[in-house]
């Protein structure tokens, strides 16, 4: 099982440095996610690996083999596209068999492998259907089966779930992760959705403006953001100067809303903050509350839905926060 090594890869489009001297190592069998806002270079980096975007400088290796000079069609990569890219002129089985035909796999073996692949994505019996008869979720399964059946060295996912509805997105990401782990294929997954990234990934590379902002396991990136950008991109947070919390150190800190509680529910050793409720937003399982501190700083907290506690705008409240979850960000 080969890993992927990206050495000093760069690519410029006009005046935009899309990918800026990126170094990255993805372990064999790892589920690795490139995460970032649109235009951060994550898709360009993925397309470099796939062979659809040439490097201005740097190299890409699969194991010990340098692949960035190879034509895209000989790289043996399975790619799943954002809009599925299922060939509309072929049947489902024809789509899945497409890569096998290109590899001149004998007909009987091809038929068997197509069946296996369709069974793997729970589309047994759909082989003779035409793409226009399938739903978005089914098309995505066809695209995945088509990418898996060629037994690729690497599976690439380019925002594969962004065209599906929210509910399906959640169940599909679980399936994709389970499938990747059961087959043990190295996977690189591109998304702009931090929740999706945290859900599926072994490790995440957070990208910003063509550079890697932070690479690590999901929990680390969320809990120990290496930069203000990382802290804000990975979810709602309070980015504060330490003195706004009454601390002496001249640093910026990140404090997640869920690290705050009402004082009467918090351990006694947590530092306290006094303030007035400025806004209450009930989201269902979660309630978001903005509190204006005495200094004028607005701090955001979040609690699980608690019907017994009625909080209204204008209430004077005392909050407490867990000091250990205060992260210093450069």
């Amino acid at each position: 099982m080969s890993g992927i090594v990206i050495k000093d890869a760069s690519r410029r489009f006009g005046s935009v440095q899309a990918v800026d001297h990126v170094d990255l190592t993805v372990e064999g069998g790892e589920f690795f996610t490139l995460l970032g806002p649109s235009g951060c270079g994550k898709t360009t980096l993925l397309r470099m690996i796939a062979g659809f975007c040439e490097l201005d400088s740097g190299e890409i290796l699969f194991g010990d083999t340098r692949i960035d000079r190879l034509s895209a069609h000989v790289r043996n990569i399975g790619m799943v596209f954002q809009n599925y890219a299922v060939f509309p002129n072929l049947t489902v089985a024809g789509n899945v068999a497409y890569g096998l035909m290109a590899r001149r796999v004998p007909a009987d073996e091809s038929a068997r492998r197509v069946e296996e692949a369709l069974a793997l994505v729970q589309l047994s019996g759909f082989g003779e259907r035409k793409p226009h008869q399938l739903s978005g979720g089914q098309l995505q399964r066809v695209a995945i089966a088509r990418a898996l059946v060629i037994r690729p060295q690497v599976l690439l996912f380019d925002e594969p779930l962004s065209n599906l509805d929210a509910r399906l997105r959640v169940s599909m990401r679980g399936e994709i992760r389970a499938l990747q782990k059961s087959l043990g294929i190295t996977a690189i997954y591109v998304t702009h959705d931090q929740e999706e990234a945290m859900s599926v990934s072994d490790r995440i590379a957070l990208m910003n403006a063509g550079k890697l902002e932070q690479v690590g396991v999901p929990a680390d990136i969320y809990r120990k953001p290496a930069s203000r950008f990382a802290a804000e991109f990975m979810g709602t947070t309070n980015l504060l100067e330490a003195r706004q919390l009454g601390l002496a150190a001249p640093v910026w800190v990140s404090l997640r809303p869920e690290a705050l509680r009402f004082a009467d529910e918090a351990p006694a050793d947590w530092p306290r903050l006094q303030g007035i409720v400025a806004r209450v937003e009930l989201l269902g399982p979660l309630t978001r509350i903005d509190v204006t501190l005495g200094s004028g700083t607005v701090i955001r907290m979040a609690t699980l839905d608690a019907p017994h506690r009625a909080v209204a705008v204008g209430d004077a409240v005392t909050l407490a926060y867990e000091h250990a979850r205060l992260t210093v960000v450069p």
Binding site: L70, S71, A72, V74, I77, G78, Y98
Partner: protein
């Protein structure tokens, strides 16, 4: 280093530029060369231009051509825009039929319409004689008025069809927003809808204008003594007196410069006026009173049918007996008997040339259309410009360039059939490139990337994924090329020789020789030859749409 991504498009671009370089740019360079060289062909001179522009006759040709073109453009636009609005937005019975009939003048040869006008309204035309009988004198149909009439009847679809599409593409919410802000329906049309469809109208009007500049057959039939650019260039080059490539070159160069200038003006004007509207649904049919509805219906049907009357008349006339130019009211197949007893080869030639040219145009135009749509590089832009160039070159001019370039030297083509096929192919390439490009635009690039990442090379991907997905459009394009080539006249009359006459040449010669019977039979045959493939295509498309 040439990246692996670039190999296929660069190969296509290189081959495309080579072909167009040899069979388009080189002939045009020679035409231009002939116009700026002295009589020995040695040194540069502007004397030819001074001489030609010094003659009132040729200055009149310029004025006439531009004036007739402008008049025809204005009249077609004024007629076609209300027609388009009616078809897009008003409740009119038989819309599908009207649209199908309205597209027919695009594939029918315009000089046939001109000839029918002569037979009906000419000095001894059927209607003229009949009207004189009841005391009405309609005056002469020859000259500018007749030419403008025929242009109007045959070219209005160029404005109509894109404008209908544009009216249908207007986002309803724009109108609703205007009305919500207090604008009356009439003001909404004037201030919101018309500005949005204006680029489409102008694009169509430009096509009309350029068609009139380049048209050879219509003025040849109707102009009589009125000098017209394309006809005079032809006469100077082929004329009874000694052929004069230098003077013909001057007219040809001026003609190209005019069309290019018009194209540039349009480009400049449209560049700042592109309104993308993404209508999710076609705008609703307006509720109007019975009065408006009746007027609109009569208006639409009248224009559409009037445009087809000349063609219908020709077909009827071809089955009547002629003695010389004189018509007798008896049914007869003599005209066809005479036409085909003489020689079946012109028909065979027409079918053969049209098939060969349609095939070549598809084979060359589709890959070029693919490259210029997919690759936004300098080479692709150059290819795009060069492949659009034939659009600005009149058939007569290109043909003169072919004769000048390929009657001596390393490649000799004059006198054979190949030169006709090549000229047709070059002339039709812009249309193939445009229509192929439009289809490629609809194909998601990630389909190609999916194929490549599954192990097919870019060339195999093009053949196995792109071409099958384009097939419907390619077939339509090939059929349309076939049809327009079959009725091509302007390049053909310059380039044909001996046994390689086509049906259009037969008709052309019959016109000159006064053999009205043969001319009508040839015209009818041309009409049938052009309509059968279009009808088949229409049925095929319908079946395909119903099947899927």
């Amino acid at each position: 280093m040439i990246g692996h991504q670039q190999r296929l498009p660069l190969t296509i671009a290189a081959l495309g530029l080579l072909f167009l370089g040899v069979f388009l740019v080189w002939p045009l360079v020679n035409v231009f060369g002939a116009s700026v060289l002295d009589s020995e062909g040695q040194s540069f001179t502007l004397a030819n231009y001074v001489k030609m522009l010094g003659r009132p006759f040729y200055r009149a040709a310029i004025v006439n051509t531009l004036g007739i073109g402008a008049a025809a453009t204005v009249i077609t636009t004024v007629l076609a825009v209300p027609l388009a609005f009616s078809l897009a937005r008003l409740p009119i019975p038989g819309k599908a039929a009207i649209l199908a009939l309205a597209a027919m003048p695009l594939v029918l040869p315009s000089f046939v319409s001109a000839y029918a006008i002569v037979l009906l309204l000419g000095n001894s035309g059927l209607l003229t004689v009949w009207l004189k009988g009841i005391g009405l004198d309609i005056g002469s149909i020859y000259g500018a008025s007749g030419i403008v009439l025929v242009y109007t009847l045959t070219l209005y679809p160029y404005v109509l069809l894109p404008t209908v599409a544009a009216f249908k593409a207007v986002d309803v919410s724009m109108e609703e927003a205007a009305q919500n802000l207090g604008s009356s329906p009439a003001r909404t049309v004037r201030t919101v809808i018309l500005p949005i469809v204006l680029p489409a109208i102008l694009a169509g009007a430009l096509l009309v204008f350029i068609e009139t500049l380049e048209n050879f057959g219509v003025p040849f039939v109707l102009a009589e003594d009125l000098p017209i650019f394309a006809v005079e260039a032809f006469k100077l080059f082929i004329g009874e007196t000694a052929p004069n490539p230098a003077s013909a070159g001057v007219l040809a160069t001026l003609l190209i410069l005019t069309t290019v200038l018009v194209l540039l003006i349009q480009r400049h004007f449209l560049s700042s006026r592109r309104f993308a509207t993404n209508a999710r649904q076609t705008p609703p049919i307006l509720k109007v009173g019975p009065g408006v509805r009746i007027v609109a219906t009569v208006y639409c049907w009248t224009i559409v049918l009037l445009a087809l009357v000349p063609f219908f008349a020709i077909v009827v006339l071809s089955f009547l007996e002629f003695r010389g130019p004189v018509l007798h009211g008896r049914f007869s197949l003599d005209n066809f008997a005479t036409l085909f007893a003489r020689d079946m080869r012109p028909l065979a030639n027409t079918l053969m040339f049209a098939s060969a040219a349609a095939l070549c145009t598809g084979l060359i135009g589709v890959p070029i259309g693919y490259v210029v749509t997919r690759w936004r590089t300098g080479v692709a832009t150059l290819l795009d410009v060069v492949a659009t160039l034939p659009f600005a070159v009149a058939g007569t001019v290109l043909a003169i360039g072919f004769v000048v370039s390929f009657n001596a030297g390393p490649v000799i083509l004059t006198g054979g059939p190949l030169i006709l096929v090549l000229a047709y192919t070059v002339r039709k390439i812009p249309f193939a490139v445009r229509s192929a490009g439009a289809i490629v635009h609809q194909i998601d690039p990630s389909l190609e990337e999916a194929s490549i990442s599954l192990g097919r090379s870019p060339l195999q991907t093009f053949l196995r994924i792109v071409v099958p997905l384009m097939l419907g459009g390619i077939v339509s394009g090939v059929v349309l090329t076939w049809v327009t080539v079959a009725s091509e006249l302007s390049a053909t009359v310059v380039l044909y020789s001996g046994p390689w006459r086509t049906m259009t040449v037969v008709m052309f010669q019959a016109l000159e020789g006064g053999g009205a019977g043969i001319a009508t039979a040839a015209a009818s045959t041309l009409i049938v030859v052009t309509l059968i493939p279009v009808a088949l295509l229409y049925r095929l498309v319908r079946r395909y749409e119903l099947g899927s």
